[in-house]
Symmetry: D3
Subunit: 282 residues, 6 copies
């Protein structure tokens, strides 16, 4: 745990065996993100991805009011690419290069959660705007408290969302009519609506119950073979971006070595013996 102590905006705890809990930890500002925060966000998930003691991760927001209010707009409007300051002396092509650099760095940090090989469960509550949705799109499983208010807010500050929502949302929610409605209108939607369209898969009464449910689910995943669980995540992510034939071929190559793990035997034995199996680190 000491390894995760230095983070300033991400509180990392280990509430159960092999389970990490990451909290976005700037409750005084509704967990709104400044650049140092998203740099930390990327770092923490790269570290968790490489930590053989971790088998499942829960992400939530600190405090009662917000998962995250998204981008810290006050900060963004005084410095950085959205401030409109800096680069006034550059022509549009040169400013574009700088802006592209900022966007790509930001995208990379958020995508680090998707690339983390351990399953990530996102537990949302309260305010969950803008960047909140970009982040949630990178989680594997999304849960929400009934008081969660979500929105793809970016259009309202004059821009198309560029940290991942527009790239991922059409592939993780079935109704394109709904996706375009919320992305074009920037309107709020409730946890209930998010459940109905399949953006989240369960809704709980309040924050406490949501986080607990996420931790329980993480514990159950952490008891299973990490070879099976991490392979399943990788193959599902690969399938999203590839045709069926390519996905089947990749699967066959992947499992040609995964099946040589000891986990298969341990799991099969436990099925017959009704005893809980144990698995080596991964």
């Amino acid at each position: 745990m000491a390894a995760y102590a230095p983070y300033e905006f991400m509180r990392v705890t280990f509430p159960a065996s092999h389970v990490a809990h990451v909290e976005i930890n700037r409750a005084s500002k509704l967990n709104a993100f400044s650049r140092p925060m998203w740099l930390e966000f990327g770092r923490v998930f790269r570290q968790l991805g490489g930590d053989a003691d971790v088998r499942a991760v829960v992400l939530s927001g600190a405090g009662d009011r917000a998962f995250t209010a998204g981008l810290d707009v006050t900060a963004a409007s005084t410095e950085g690419p959205l401030s409109g300051t800096g680069g006034e002396d550059l022509d549009p092509a040169r400013r574009a290069k700088a802006l592209r650099g900022h966007i790509e760095e930001f995208q990379e940090c958020i995508s680090d959660m998707e690339r983390c090989e351990k399953p990530v469960i996102c537990a949302m509550h309260g305010v969950a705007l803008g960047l909140a949705v970009d982040i949630a799109c990178c989680a594997d499983i999304r849960l929400a408290a009934s008081n969660t208010v979500l929105a793809v807010k970016e259009v309202n500050i004059g821009l198309a969302a560029d940290v991942g929502t527009l790239a991922r949302l059409p592939k993780i929610v079935g109704s394109t009519s709904w996706v375009k409605d919320v992305c074009l209108s920037a309107r709020d939607f409730s946890a209930r609506e998010a459940l109905q369209v399949g953006f989240v898969s369960q809704v709980f009464e309040d924050k406490a119950r949501t986080v607990q449910a996420a931790l329980d689910m993480a514990s159950r995943l952490a008891e299973k073979s990490p070879v099976a669980v991490q392979g399943t995540k990788e193959l599902l992510n690969h399938a999203r971006d590839n045709g069926t034939a390519a996905a089947l071929r990749y699967t066959a190559v992947w499992n040609s070595v995964a099946l040589q793990a000891g986990d298969l035997r341990s799991a099969l034995t436990s099925v017959f013996s009704k005893k809980k199996p144990t698995f080596e680190k991964l």
Copy 2:
């Protein structure tokens, strides 16, 4: 508005600021489409796409009974590729070339609505068969009156739908089991069922309320930054057909110039001042 006067089968009005309303206007024939109509349909959306005064478009059908009954089968059975007349002297490969030409022209006209850079809201009511679904698939947001009866009717006239439904429906509705059911069986389905599976995102009591809701939604979109709205549409359409990495890269390039619009500043200012922003034409 004069610019849109010459259309014979498309009535174009401007009921609100920056909002265009296109009505399929052949109520006496349940708005069924003949070839001159789909040629006009393409033209009107190309014109709207290039019209900097237009920021959102509503599409509906004239009259009480139908959004559109689809292809004008009577006309189609006496002339054109489905008539079985013309080309009897050609061998199958030469007829195929002619047929391919007809299909591609037809596809292009309907796709022109999808390519229109402004968001298009489709308000359906009553009869909405065959081509109605091809057209609705090209809209961004779909609304329906509770009396709407939809069907992917083509199988019943002996052909696989080729104007876009089979290419687009699997990507805009989540349940493939449902998609194949309605496409293979050609059975009717109601507005309610369309809502449940996510083909439409809202259902209203009757035609009047549906069209009004579409116009209200269009007005709200038209008040927002057109750079943000049109960029959002483009990026969502790009994401549908590209993998996640490609979509993120395209997004970064797109926004590297979009963020240089004045809209960002206007929108941010309005957020802090609580005043309504105004945006330049696009």
Copy 3:
């Protein structure tokens, strides 16, 4: 019908005109699959695909208790790639080649149902675990009895599902959050839940009613133009794995010859005459 007599584990009957009914027929073992069974499964669907008398297929499980319990784990744990026996003398790369061969053979057999050009309706009941979902993913339309218990069970025996579920499920169900939940947790889900997320499109009271509904649906499809029905299946499957522009182009080429069938005329005539059309074999 004699042509289908030699199958040992697949019972094939023809309960209605142009309709084939395939039953997984090893009720004493909950229809669990051994290798000879999946080899037969592939063979029967290749034969049906090439049989011009067949226009629609229903797949169900024999007996009261199970659609299929999936892989016959007892058999698999004593011989074959999951047994952990055989190949101990090989290095991991050489074992991987053998395992890859096994996986690909297995994938091919199950995919043969997807490649069958006739529409396949899958009627599930009771136990439907593991391989049951891989198989159902290859059907066109999925129905279930209310007592069906489904699970993507593979993680529980220490492996990522490799016979198709992970490649196909994200493309046939809208909610990725739900897909990852059931694939990572291996938990059971009910017919009701399957309906809600769109994995199945209808639920019936019991097995008898489910199979009857599937047969009725198959009969209706079998009355339609086989050129239209089989083309629709092919174009929907192509669209799943290709971008919109490529799908439209493929559609135009496909229909440039399909429209030259007599079916169009027969179907149009029947529309006007209200008589039932008849269509040539395909």
Copy 4:
């Protein structure tokens, strides 16, 4: 031929049976292109593509000195997107939309030659700079006179080539090291060098012999089955942009109707009888 009379900058003649010869016809300006010219260029190839009397096309430049000097830079520097005038009042995002519109229109006109279903042989001589290469990339077969001087010149006027060279050249010439050398350096290269790297497939002594060779080749193609020739062009263009499996599948569908042409029988008969076959129009 009268149908092709109205073109101002494109001279179209029919020097042999079924063979069209298009000359870029502004010799006084080294055949440099202004916007009206590229609009005409697109139109003439759309017309030829749909003209059943045409089976092969030759493209060359009028006059002794140039195939084409590319973009008319003088004109471009006083009006249009490269002039730097117009749009000064717009913010960069709004100017970008206008520029994108110009680029896409330009790309479309040049791509019309690639989309023309008849084979196009490009015969180059003398000056062949910038746009000359964009155009040549859209031809099927490239020939050159020994005095041809080519260059991907765009970098020298401060821009990346955007009318097709950068999109197509890496796929039609084998050596990427060479492609990047000429595209990044904007240096001249000779017909001889173009032959060596495979950009052109033959070099002739002078313009007259080059054009004659192109016309002879066109005549030979025009004597063959147009179903076979046009299908071959389509399938090769499809293969360039698709994987092998997709290309084989598309080929099978395409030929399933093409093989029903009478051409096969005519051609086979002529092989055995040693008589010249004749083929119907296409």
Copy 5:
């Protein structure tokens, strides 16, 4: 060797350790292919692919005059899809289905050589027309005797080549101008020309020397680690049809198990000891 005795048109010998030599064996007919021959052709390469004693394969034609004259046109013109007989009673769509079936079966048999996991060296001489090129495109390395006369002959019998040349040739030869020239014109080209454009990589004086060179090369490949050689073939074929990022990812997964073979250690030891390594079967 006995295992390969029953082939009628394919002579299979084992002239060196781990090297198989397949001869197309119908010299009296210039090795022209009838349907039973291509069915055998597929079978022999499926068998070789699964034969752990085989590490490299040479393909050549029996007799002095021809590698293969391609399709047996005389046979094809009296029966089968090109005969124009059979199916006259079917409408074009139904004939198309039958034709598509024939084409796909033919494509599959030839593709079986590409799918064979062992490297295949194709040694051509004399007549090498039509199908000869389709076949050669599926080999890994192509050698030719100086008297080889090649042609993509299909256009001359009124059809676009559909057994693989048009799908593969643009990806295995650098100059598209040359590819289109030979495919559209059906003209002969020599071994020398094939070498110049890179279709073959070496030319030898006569058939004997070509076959010997192929066998020598095969022997050298057969001495190397089969894990390394077969992996290299697989990864190069995968790279042809996938983007760079996908190819790198697939490579990493593939080698994550291949590197666990004993071959690495054996090969490294032999590098240091200068002794010839031996490798286990694969």
Copy 6:
């Protein structure tokens, strides 16, 4: 320059305005790579990519004997993934994860040169084996001294090349027959042969002249508009991995902002005035 001082194995100098020269600097070991070296290699190119003073880069090897002998096999055989030590206690799936991590880290470092937005010219001489080719494949332009001896050597140490050669070589050299020959056989090939197949685009007498030619070429590129040069590199790299339509669309978006640079005007002015233009940093 001080910024580049700390590198241990990469010597970075700035021999001309805006030109960086990177030398692989371990001549005593024939510039063979250990892990610290490839980590440095990635770092130096990330730094150059972000350095606005740099407009072109030359890469060469220090010393007389080698560009690089590739992987330091002695080091690799005592530690790291190829050593066969470490991980003996792990099952094959767990070792595979570790190996995959090593391969991906290695791939990333080498790919950093390809991702560097400035053009990179690779000047090879002497020994250029294994990793030398992986690296050269990531350069934009390849030059070689006449004494260069190249080989895709990996098969000879029992593995398929996994740091990029197999993913990239088929797309940067036209003849697949040659690519497979050298990759499967691991045989040496000369600078002359590399020129003939297009792997390098020029050969010079000796190392000194090769490096000088590369520096001269870099100087010429550095005098041009960096907006034009870097855009050209990006668009060519994008085109390699995308279809034509996608490449044209990306080009249009890219240039919609690039054309707003001042470079266009500076360059055009200089064309007319015959004076050398100057361009702002990028």
